[in-house]
Amino acid sequence: MPALTAKLSPSVDFIGAFDPKIRTFDIIMKTANGSSYNSYVVRGSAGVAIMDTVKKEFSKDFFLRLESLCKYEEILYIVLHHLEPDHSGALEELMLRAPQAKLIISGRAVLMLKGIIKSDVAFETANTGKIISLGDKTIEFLSTPFLHWPDTMSSYLHEEKILFSGDVFGSHYYDERLFDDEVGDFSYAFKYYYDHIMRPFKQYVLQALNLYSRFDIVTIAPLHGPILRTNPQYYIDKYEEWSSEAKFRKHTFGKKMLSVFYMSSYDNTHTMAKKIMEGADSIEGIVASMYDLASLDESNMVDLLEESDAVIIGSPTINGDAVKPAWDLLACMAYLESQGKIGAAFGSYGWTGEAPEMLHDRMRWLKFRLPVKPIKIKLIPTKEELEDCFAFGVEVAEITMGKMVEMEI
């Protein structure tokens, strides 16, 4: 392999590694075009900073590139914007080779560092506003947590207007031409990366964009895929648009969405669902709707869940469990923010009836608010039981509209 490096600006070079063969990333992502682990060297009059490393298996390429541009003794700082192993894989070795270098990580990364490097190493932490100097070059740090781990941060090189954004604005897209104006069409990979990695953290994306907006950005240097230098604002605008677009109905009609998802074999859970929906829909400000899980695609599930302020799930108990589509629905929460959503569960059963309780429990782990106990009904609901279902719908809807819950425990 040639020790290929690439210049972003007079004092910044790419020294990352290419992984053309990878086809699945982090278990959850398909990577048809492979990927890259981007790392950069910044040169100042007093010495250099290394911005992130690469996945361990690719250390050799990384060190070759690094050595073609600087000596280990020149390294003043090693900055890790994110400790995930795809970027911290060569850290331990780099610190051995450059023992004088100061490691810089975010405050939230401190406890993680111990889990990544098993030996004790010296480090400094950075929060928004911290500045390091390389002589004639100045790097300012920005705290941008949860994008997509608690520890993530970004930094900005003032003199050359480069934003080191971490995984933000990344794409799994291998192309050695490297710059957005020279590589192939990576737009699908840019969106796919956002959808799978950033979408659960929309509020944090918006916070980060707000911090970025303080700076004049000429080049965005992310940790994966093409370096964005043609029109960085285009990519920033995309992130802004995608992070703001949920809750269309809430913003347009001022209503809150309550969705009842159910599955039913002999119509009992379905009958309950109808009554719960009726009850919920009777509350001013709520639009309640019902969806049969038997025929919802995953992408529809994700969109519906995202739009819903309250999610009520109904499943019969089958062989001591809730039905698979109900679990599939909840598995979609991996792509979404759940904080702040109201949840509730119900279902008809024959003799054990654990499904509603199990769904309720799972929703608790997913950080739903669960102010109402699950409701289960033995086989065919009676008229009185259907009134309970109506009241259940009313209660969940009222709480969704802001009714305070008071209790004693």
Binding site: R108, V110, T125, Q339, G340, K341, R369, V372, M404
Partner: protein
């Protein structure tokens, strides 16, 4: 009874002295988030809007976690380390701020 108001969830829970915030969160259905439950991960960090003195005193793990996060907010606590110690009064808690 101490009244614990969980602001983000709009839930008011009346509890006797000795109740842990973990139990209060779980039993009330609040969406307060916990991770390790032993004070290591900072997931459960929250702000005591008022009534901080009605809880047990802050411990070393919490001080360390708050320092690491570098926030200038006052009265931050790790919810997994908090217990209601008073008999009377009102506490208000706000999480994910």
């Amino acid at each position: 009874m101490v009244s614990v108001y969980l602001k983000n969830d709009n839930i008011k829970v009346n509890v006797k002295t000795g109740k842990s915030m973990r139990e209060i969160a779980r039993k009330s259905g609040a969406s307060m988030e916990f991770g390790c439950r032993v004070g290591d991960c900072s997931t459960c960090i929250a702000k005591i809007v008022h009534g901080a003195d009605l809880l047990n005193p802050i411990n070393d793990k919490e001080l360390l976690a708050i320092k690491a996060i570098g926030s200038k907010e006052e009265n931050l606590r790790l919810m997994c380390q908090c217990i209601v110690e008073a008999d009377e009064g009102e506490i208000e808690i706000s999480y994910f701020f």
